[in-house]
């Protein structure tokens, strides 16, 4: 057996792990930090232009080998398991939640409150934005006040988005450029944005933040030791106390040589799926329900947000392809008066070519080719399509769960996770009213410029998922405290997405990072 002794062992190699490792190395210079990631390192930024080109031309996945075929979950939203995690190919959206997200119970009698004051979290939002070099514009709503400016001004709106902003604001809603972790000038060893427009897949210039850059910068000066392709299979508790003493792992190439990481502090930074999974897998005679699970809450209250989307046709002319990955956001409905039916959502607007792409057959089924096809295409490009979407605040029930699926195991015989989202009764009871409200907003937007909604749809999964190790002050109803320290094991922390009690109504990554940076302060003290 190979043994690695370290001070802090971080399990998982995604964005929260990167931010935590970076912050801890600053707070505790010289401390030994090991990061253990099941997937491989893909530290070849120089090849990303080529990967992108092949993704466009051949549909090839632009992150070679970023998955482990037998380490997959039922209900997961991405197969990626590599150093950098899902943030290798996130879009870079960096919206903040709002105070309402943290006070749902006290303001509306719904779900639960987060055990953090908004002003406290807001400081860490600023720090997260600084580290990710977020580009943004202050919200027009005074409730969204900030204690520090964005580190970069907003991404300049394309001509298309300028046109759509003028259109959308005729509804009375105020829109802002979406804040994004996208460099407008070189920063942090990464290049500046040159509108490759494939942020959600791969960014050749590195302008859109991805954690591989942070890890490389921490590895070179030996601030951390990265153990990639190493799957942590269980955590081991001290025989007499409740402290975690080791993480047992296997390297992909040496499955016959078990590895043990021994540390003073363990941090599970494995995202919304694999964090709960590891705690449940670490069951023993003494802890038959897994670790940190005396409350039975591990794997429960899995959250995220629903989304409703639409396409509008308007008369104003745009030119699809200018900057399709950037969007507008309205935070108008982040707030809901306490005496009104509860509904919260963001409102997003993108340029689109939906319904205006080249097609093979005319409306009457005639095959088109050559000049006819181009003429048909041109005839349908007057005016614009607009893509609309709302991420809707929905609240999980205790039965919204991640469980171990005994019918699906990896090569080592470990059961894989199964995620099934469920909503609480209040969410279910307002579902129809919520949909009516959101479609009403879309229709109001569409009125200007002779617009009309031409189609609507609802997502069939929850986006930006979290939960499974929710934070709280009561050990009977939560897994960890507001810093992610588990109630049951003083030297075991969980950070980021799994700790969120509810999923908000806009992209969650910035919140996951802000929570993690706050946890770092506490972990550093330990």
């Amino acid at each position: 057996m190979t043994v690695h002794e370290t001070d802090i062992c971080i399990i998982g190699g995604g964005i929260t792990s990167a931010m935590l490792a970076e912050r801890l190395s600053e707070l505790r210079p010289g401390v030994h930090i090991a990061v253990v990631e099941a997937g491989k390192s893909i530290f070849d930024a120089q090849n990303r232009g080529q990967y992108r080109q092949r993704a466009i031309e051949y549909g090839e996945h632009p992150w070679p080998g970023d998955y482990i075929e037998d380490q997959q979950a039922n209900g997961i939203i991405s197969m990626t398991m590599a150093v950098g995690g899902l943030a290798l190919h996130w879009g870079g959206a960096c919206n903040r939640f709002s105070e309402e997200d943290l006070r749902l119970k006290s303001m509306y009698g719904l779900a639960t409150d987060w055990p953090i004051a908004w002003d406290e979290l807001e400081k860490y939002y600023c720090e997260a934005e600084r580290r990710l070099n977020v580009s943004g514009e202050p919200s027009p709503h005074p409730e969204d006040k900030r204690s520090a400016p964005y580190p970069q001004g907003p991404i300049p709106l394309s001509y298309n988005l300028q046109t759509l902003k003028a259109w959308a604001e005729q509804s009375g809603l105020k829109f802002s450029p979406l804040p994004m972790a996208r460099n407008l000038t070189p920063f942090g060893g990464r290049g500046s944005c040159c509108v490759y427009d494939t942020c959600g897949e791969v960014c050749p210039s590195g302008a859109r933040y991805s954690p591989d850059f942070t890890f490389k910068q921490l590895i070179a000066p030996k601030k951390i030791v990265l153990h990639d392709r190493t799957l942590v299979r269980r955590l081991i508790v001290d025989d007499k106390q409740s402290r975690i003493v080791a993480a047992q792992a296997l390297h992909q190439d040496r499955p016959d040589d078990p590895i043990e990481f021994r540390a003073k502090t363990f941090v599970v930074a494995s995202g919304y799926c694999w964090s709960s999974h590891l705690l449940l897998l670490s069951s023993s005679t003494r802890y038959p329900n897994g670790l940190a699970n005396s409350s039975g809450m591990v794997g429960r209250y899995m959250n995220g947000h629903r989304f409703i989307q639409a396409t509008a046709n308007i008369d104003d002319q745009t030119f699809p392809g200018q900057n399709m990955t950037h969007s507008l956001i309205s935070r108008q409905y982040f707030r809901c008066a306490a005496n009104q039916p509860f509904v919260r959502h963001d409102t997003r607007v993108w340029e689109s070519s939906a319904g205006r792409d080249p097609r093979l057959r005319s409306a009457d089924g005639k095959l088109l080719f050559g000049d006819e096809l181009m003429a048909d295409w041109r005839s349908r490009t007057k005016g614009s399509s607009v893509r609309l979407r709302a991420y809707v605040d929905v609240h999980p029930s205790a039965d919204s769960r991640l469980t171990l699926d005994a019918s699906k195991k990896n090569r080592y015989g470990d059961p894989m996770p199964k995620i099934e989202h469920r909503f609480d009764e209040a969410t279910m009871s307002r579902e129809a009213a919520t949909k009516t409200h959101v479609l009403g907003v879309f229709n109001t937007l569409a009125k200007a410029s002779n617009g009309r909604i031409v189609n609507t749809s609802e997502g069939d999964y929850l986006d930006h998922p979290g939960g499974g190790c929710r934070m709280g002050t009561d050990p009977a109803t939560s897994v960890c405290d507001s810093y992610g320290r588990t109630h049951d094991h003083e030297n075991l922390f969980v950070v980021g997405a799994p700790t969120t009690p509810t999923g908000g109504c806009t992209n969650g990554t910035l919140t996951f990072v802000a929570l993690t940076l706050r946890s770092a302060q506490e972990i550093a003290k330990s």
């Binding site: 939203i77 300049p156 509108v195 200018q322 093979l360 080719f369 050559g370 096809l373 181009m374 986006d463």
Partner: protein, 191 residues
């Protein structure tokens, strides 16, 4: 190696290779000169005439280069929300060669080369060929269903075609300064 051992080894070799794998080894990986010639003849009729002969030929050459760059068994984009592992299929080249040969034969059956056919006959032949290949829409990129619809997708789904359609220098997915995107795209300069 003794002669008998050698003969036994030779006799055993076919057992290691299925009929399919032998057939696979025999499959061409590149379009034949005859197939390329047929493709070049058909291309100007399925691409916009405004491209002119030189650009149409250049697009055809790029498409031929695309076929050479095709890789089999490579993981495709996993997707998001409901991800799944998919890998690229066998090279489309053998199918392309057959399809081009079939179109040439059909044209000959009408007493002409492809370019000598009238437009409605071309439409009828393409319609039948696409239907046989299961083509319903213009794919987002070449998918190997039919060589001609893939050539059309190769062009019509490109940034260049998008600019032609809108008569505007949009340069979709082309590396460029972000400031350029803040202005209404310039009309294309007519050559």
């Amino acid at each position: 190696m003794q002669r008998r051992t050698l003969l036994q080894w030779i006799a055993a070799v076919p057992a290691f290779f299925s009929f399919d794998s032998i057939r696979l080894f025999a499959q061409p990986r590149e379009l034949t000169p005859a197939a390329i010639a047929e493709l070049r003849e058909i291309a100007p009729t399925v691409l916009p005439s405004g491209l002119g002969a030189v650009r149409a030929a250049a697009i055809t050459d790029k498409f031929v280069a695309w076929t050479r760059g095709y890789r089999e068994g490579v993981p495709l984009t996993h997707g998001y929300g409901h991800p799944r592992l998919q890998k690229s299929g066998p090279s489309p080249v053998p199918g392309y060669i057959s399809q081009l040969s079939a179109l040439a034969e059909e044209a000959r059956a009408h007493g002409s080369s492809w370019s000598g056919l009238d437009r409605e006959t071309q439409r009828t032949l393409l319609d039948a060929a696409f239907t046989k290949a299961g083509v319903r829409n213009l794919p987002g990129r070449p998918l190997g269903q039919h060589v001609i619809v893939d050539l059309m997708a190769f062009y019509f789904r490109s940034s260049e075609a998008n600019d032609e359609c809108y008569n505007a220098l949009i340069n979709r997915e082309v590396c460029r300064p972000i400031a350029i995107t803040t202005r209404r795209p310039e009309p294309l300069k007519k050559v």
